[in-house]
Symmetry: C2
């Protein structure tokens, strides 16, 4: 499939030779790929937003049935991209083909899921609606007819994530939920997978034409320059931002948003350390748990926002430590998504290895120089509590085992814990009951509390919450996965008559 | 009833002689009242917040039934305050006793309404919950049990409003909805009615004791100094802010919030000009409409956030203008809530009178020097569109009649309209149909769209939305009135097992 290297602005692939080009990096080849992508101009961004605003006037009036049809059509068109999509995404990310097939399926299903939700009268698209009949003879004042409905918020800016090139990127959850809510999308492609974005954009382009949707409903911007991102979130027509990425980038975008006349919602899903609480029950800690945690940590070579980064384990569980050690030593290194991520990972690993009271429990096999191998450190909880360097997320295959003495110490840990996307409790019913107070307080630190399961794997369904207290997300009231994700882009309107 | 002049910190009335005192102003007497109120210290504010956080741990685990009982008990205790409450609020606000009786009833009913909502399984407290059963044999991956529930966000800071000393103040909608959601409240009393706040606090103090609720659940801070307000919203334990007041004060508080590590929701209900669209139908404009608009504008002497401030009327509706004129001329002046509001009102009136193309249609009778009399100006829509001074809200009994030529001109008006709490359409079915496009676009500028009724009067019910696009509120996704107001203080949590 031939790539244009262009941005897609309101129905047109726009040629722009004035702003330079950039190339994606191929992690497997360990060098930049050949295809050049033109940096969009600031005028192109303005045009995309203006056309999105024009499209909004038509799109917000579309029926739920038409929107559902459109989302299903986008899903069909992604399927039609076939292996060409997998091929280019594999080149750009070096994520295994099987994983990419799975993620593609999830992305397609997510679009179909929102279509189903739009058509279901019991879904979040209808659930908060209210109608109250007039009481014209009520004293002292009559009551009018009052209808509460939820309308789309306006044009949404979406930022693609590097670690999920399908599910959290061009046509991922943010785009799907915004389009479902009736909001046009101006999408900033992630520079790690511009070819993937171009192909995905071709899919939505075809769906827009087939469904006769307004052409401004979706634009995709290729640009290496940061100022384009800031221009996007500062524009007065942009009414909400969906973002998956790092806290640092999120903070910069939020600072720009705070300079706006109208402060708008910024939905940043920012990652976390996802602590794993291994409880000492009447039985010893399950032998397979260590291996399972290592496997969970290695998902996407540690580049999942739900990757388990801190494992709290009762002191002296040698069998557990041995099983972790064995699983890590037997693991094989792999690439990371970008040279910047690799460099951050290496720096963090070196720093952790130097920390007092922290030792390397095990290291995976390093197959290639430009790979990241699994590293699991071990420390005690007292050291952890006083070593703030350990509290930060390391993006990549890394975890810290914290040995604890007592439930009181665990409670101190929870008390000092920053907001997390998830936490898991590993323990039988009796152990959970014994830790009731701890678990109750843990609820207020996380977006998802998991019993006896790994945090990786985020089900796309009505009961999911993927978000959490700051800094795991920028808005604890919102989820970026599941049907409630659409609520981010809706707002109430009361009609009185 | 004897007043202490003290702040109420986590169950105790605290004496503090180190920080000076202030007095409320009596608008009717046109001088400060005698009772002195001690400015709270910064230590007292910290203590209130810390105790609220401690109370949160217990209160968040209370059953909905216990919370409902508590809210009903607060309502009972307000009733028990009897006429002493009306007496002091009348002194502090000079709002008529009948109006205060009505507002007290509304405030009591609002607490009972949230109690009812807590006990109803179909209310917003339950409506977004989800449970999805596990599918352990699903391929390729099993599905876990997933439960989505909504938990309280944490300690809420509430700022009292001057214009509704009961319904939007100490035990008003923000406090009621936060307590219903399971959040402790630290309340900053409005300096215009500190005695009212003290009495209301006595009511909640008794309810806390009777219901054996944790004492930190409610604190009330008296302070004239602005830095106390900023200290409150900056504290890391504060997780949301409810505010009703001016855009200027809101902007300053938001700037402080933006310096926090964790940016928290700021729910500011900020007022608007509430445009009234009088459509030309096949019949002439209804004769009584002018009079009704004047009466609506005069509610609370123009100090309602839903006061109709801009009246768009077809050119040449002399009968309408005459009826407005007559109603205004026959109106009698009254006090405003504070000398600052009076001074701003006078300044705005003088400025408007000087604007080119703007003339005074009528003025009400000025009974006393320190009163504000009704003023209605008239201009044409072209002048309005190019005169930004007219776009701002004037707090007090004032409105501008804008005569328009055509529907196209009205569309320009809507296109340039800032966010509004409400707008009203006055016209028969045929006229509304003829203005379909205009009305559709108007929905995206307002929080409540009203047909053939006045904007003043905000029903406390499930279908209400009291909020709107910026700058009418700081968060278009939220309402400060009605059952959905509680959603502001809840956030999703997923339990996976």
């Amino acid at each position: 499939m031939t790539l244009t290297g262009q941005s897609f602005i309101a129905g047109c692939w726009v040629n722009n030779n004035d702003n330079g080009t950039y190339c994606a990096f191929g992690p497997k080849l360990n060098k930049p790929l050949e295809q050049a992508y033109q940096n969009a101009s600031s005028q192109m961004v303005d045009k995309a937003i203006e056309q999105a605003q024009c499209a909004f006037i038509e799109y917000r009036q579309s029926s739920f049935k038409d929107r559902a049809h459109f989302l299903n059509c986008i899903a069909d068109e992604i399927e039609s991209l076939g292996d060409a999509l997998l091929h280019i995404t594999h080149l750009e990310t070096n994520l295994p083909i099987a994983r990419l097939q799975g993620e593609r399926g999830r992305t397609i299903n997510q679009l179909r899921f929102f279509a189903t939700q739009l058509l279901s009268e019991s879904s979040v698209f209808h659930r908060l609606n209210e109608f109250e009949h007039a009481m014209p003879h009520r004293a002292p004042l009559p009551k009018p007819n009052l209808e509460l409905r939820y309308i789309p918020i306006g044009v949404v800016a979406v930022f693609g994530a590097s670690n999920f090139p399908f599910a959290f990127s061009t046509l991922g959850g943010d785009t799907a939920s915004a389009l479902a809510a009736g909001c046009p999308v101006v999408m900033k492609s992630h520079t790690a997978h511009p070819g993937t974005s171009e192909l995905m954009t071709k899919a939505v382009e075809r769906a827009i034409k087939k469904c006769a949707m307004p052409s401004g409903i979706f634009s995709m911007i290729q640009a290496k320059q940061y100022d384009i991102a800031h221009q996007l979130v500062a524009h007065p027509f942009i009414k909400a931002v969906g973002f998956t990425g790092s806290l640092n980038v999120a903070k910069r975008l939020m600072a720009t948003i705070q300079t706006r006349h109208e402060v708008i919602p910024f939905y940043g899903e920012l990652g976390s350390t996802n602590p794993q609480f291994v409880l000492k029950g009447k039985d010893d800690v399950e032998a397979r748990l260590g291996e399972s945690l290592v496997q969970s940590m290695l998902m996407g070579n540690g580049q999942f926002c739900t990757s388990p980064g801190i494992w709290l384990v009762p002191k002296g569980e040698q069998r557990f430590l041995d099983s972790v050690k064995e699983a890590v030593i037997n693991s094989q290194s792999d690439t990371l998504l970008s040279p910047a991520i690799l460099s951050s990972f290496r720096k963090a690993i070196c720093e952790r290895a130097e920390l007092e009271g922290v030792t390397l429990l095990a290291k995976g096999e390093q197959l290639e120089d430009h790979h990241a191998a699994a590293h699991v450190f071990v420390t005690d909880l007292s050291t952890y509590l006083t070593t703030s360097e350990l509290h930060e997320e390391v993006f990549g295959p890394q975890a810290v085992v914290c040995e604890y003495d007592s439930q009181e110490q665990l409670q101190l840990f929870v008390g000092s814990l920053d907001g997390q996307l998830t936490a898991s409790i590993h323990g039988d019913e009796m152990a959970c009951n014994q830790h009731g107070k701890l678990i109750e307080s843990l609820q207020y630190r996380v977006g998802r509390l998991i019993y006896n399961q790994m945090p990786t794997g985020v089900e796309v369904c009505c009961a999911m919450n993927h978000g959490g207290p700051f800094p795991s997300s920028s808005d604890v009231r919102s989820t970026s996965v599941g049907s409630a994700a659409a609520l981010r882009f809706l707002r109430p309107l009361c009609i009185q008559h």
